[in-house]
Amino acid sequence: MTDKGPRSAGGAWYQHLLLAPPLVFFAAFAVFPLLFTLYVSLSVWSISGDHRFIGFGNYAELLTSPDFQTTFFNTVAFAVATVLVEYVCGMTAALMLYRSRAGQGALRLAFLLPMMFTPVVVGFIWRTMFDPSYGPVDALLRWVGLPSVPWLSERPWAFAAVVIADVWQWTPFMFLIIYAAMRALPTAPLEAAVVDGASSRQVFWDHMMPMLLPASLTAILLRTIESFKLFDVVYLLTGGGPGVGTATITLSAYFTGLRNGDLGSAAAMTFLLLVVVLVVTTVLLKVAARIGRTKPRRRVVELPQTSPSEGVPA
């Protein structure tokens, strides 16, 4: 005999007061800026404050601008490339460490280290790493006998450089979540499969992978959302160059809005970015929900940060 569920908050004013601060912040720092940005995006709005409503002019201009098309492509391509590479690497690292008997503690912390660097510092590190005259990457290539590469000055290479820097910093995040999920897996079915003579490859694909799916989706979702915000590393590593060759929408919006003073165009850019993010996030959430429905037996593996203290005997 216990009380069923939470109490209704129909009456007491203080119960509503509890929610007030986040909702006020949400209104002031999300809803209002969103609507305001929408309005700005429909205007010619100079950073000096002069503005005039023009409708969809900014959008029309952007969609036909080759520079914006490149920026848009970059943003999506960075998201796809980084999330994909980070997921594969994070999963592999987690699996290799999971199977390794020794060194789990120390290696785990070593793997996590890049995540702790301030993104701006990551930009600095890789800018010097990739420097053609004094960076170790080119020196290494020369030492192996490969030609030197114009890492930061030519498009495909600069693009790769940004991806590498992002992969370096954020694969640990994927690794963290997937590794935690792996350690939470029930060992009995895996051992049973091994006893039944399954190869380690079969054990992974047939038994572990399905159970790791929810955690994988969580990690992919969170990283995808973040990857669309990509800014600081690019800002320091390439500055968006060569030209707009590695510029993201966030970076372009910053330059267009604050450096060139054209807030209207900048706002329109960010709005298009928001549309992309919302579409992608919705699709991923739908996929996650579907997987959640079709696999009722699966263990829910939570983010390690979000799991509360366990061990409350009911």
Binding site: M1, T2, D3, K4, G5, R7, S8
Partner: protein
């Protein structure tokens, strides 16, 4: 300090479901009341409603003549032991016991020294002296239960509510705690309402027993009175162990016939009737009124529950003495103590006659 409790028109609803409806529940000052009911009957909800913990509760609660229906729980001066113990896991036993004494409304009444002494006293009585610096996680179930009891008693409440406080202890501990509880309650003279599904506890502790079933009070009275004159089938079933036998009977011409046995039943209309036979009022062996066959024997040590079959009806019989006297398949005689029959209306389940 101690005061009478009067609860009227109490109701608890969860959503649209009414969990508890109690018309009236009263306890005299210093009385030990037992709220007896099966799990799910609404005992916990009733106690919490009296304590003021359920926003979905309505009704009037008077304590010592004062209407506390609209008083916040922290101002009601009611203490409660929760079934889950609800100890504060981040505090030591001493801090747990001291917690009520440090509440804003009491903190000025006592000096730190007095607080210490009160805690030591209670800890002494409950045998917690050695455990004061431990945390709840380091205690056994019985120890936790005693801490929870101590936390309720340390502040000498006007009303003490106990929610199945000893039903989760092992049998030996339970018997000891029962006696201890009764003694402490008497010494302190605190009005107490004790919820339990265990009829044995109701007999052992209750000055007055309230039988709660499906959220409603079925009967109120002293335990023996409830045992001898249950007002309906549910009460008869809830008091007395092993459980009462219920068999079909027939009233005809002021007499009742059951299992081929006939007893006078003045004042009853002709028709079917439900007859209650307490296992303890039945005897097997020797030459008796009825012929029965032993179906099963469940030894209890100094007694046994012998299940027999009579005229196609199965009956539980509580026999005294050695259990190896009876074998399955034996044909035995069955005796029914005179004045022990309870007759119920099969439709309303109300008791229509007792003690024939």
């Amino acid at each position: 300090m101690t005061a009478e409790l009067k609860v009227s028109e109490l109701s608890v609803t969860y959503g649209d479901v009414a969990a508890v409806r109690i018309d009236e529940l009263s306890l005299d000052a210093g009385e030990f009341g037992v709220l007896l009911g099966p799990s799910g009957a609404g005992k916990t909800s009733s106690l919490k409603a009296i304590a003021g913990l359920l926003p979905g509760a309505a009704g009037a609660v008077h304590l010592g003549g004062r209407d506390i229906s609209r008083t916040a729980p922290e101002e009601r001066d009611i203490a409660m032991c929760f079934e889950s113990y609800a100890l504060y896991p981040h505090l030591t036993v001493r801090k747990n016991l001291e917690f009520p004494l440090r509440a804003p409304r009491r903190v000025r009444e006592l000096t730190a020294q007095e607080r210490r002494r009160r805690v030591d006293e209670v800890a002494d009585v409950l045998g917690l002296g050695q455990l004061l610096e431990r945390r709840p996680a380091q205690l056994s179930g019985g120890q936790r239960q005693r801490v929870s009891l101590g936390r309720a008693l340390v502040r000498r409440p006007t009303l003490l509510l106990l929610d199945e406080p000893i039903s989760h202890l092992d049998a030996k501990l339970r018997n000891g705690m029962r006696a201890e509880l009764k003694r402490m309650q008497r010494d302190m003279g605190v009005t107490t309402l004790f919820a339990t599904p265990d009829q044995g506890e109701a007999f052992a502790l209750g000055d007055r027993v309230f039988v709660l079933d499906a959220g409603e009070l079925r009967q109120v009275g002293e335990p023996t009175e409830l045992y001898l004159r249950p007002s309906n089938v549910r009460v008869a079933e809830l008091l007395g162990a092993p459980r009462i036998n219920l068999v079909d009977g027939e009233v005809r011409g002021q007499r009742v016939t059951v299992l081929g046995l006939e007893r006078p039943a003045e004042g009853l209309r002709d028709g079917p009737v439900l007859v209650g036979l307490r296992p303890a009022d039945l005897t097997v062996g020797g030459h008796r009124e009825l012929e029965a066959a032993v179906v099963a024997v469940q030894p209890l040590g100094n007694a046994a529950i012998v299940t027999v079959k009579v005229s196609g009806q199965t009956l539980r019989v509580l026999t005294q003495g050695a259990f190896d006297e009876w074998q399955v398949g034996d044909a035995v005689g069955l005796g029914v103590r005179s004045g022990s029959l309870l007759l119920f209306d099969p439709v309303t389940t109300m008791c229509v006659k007792a003690g024939i």
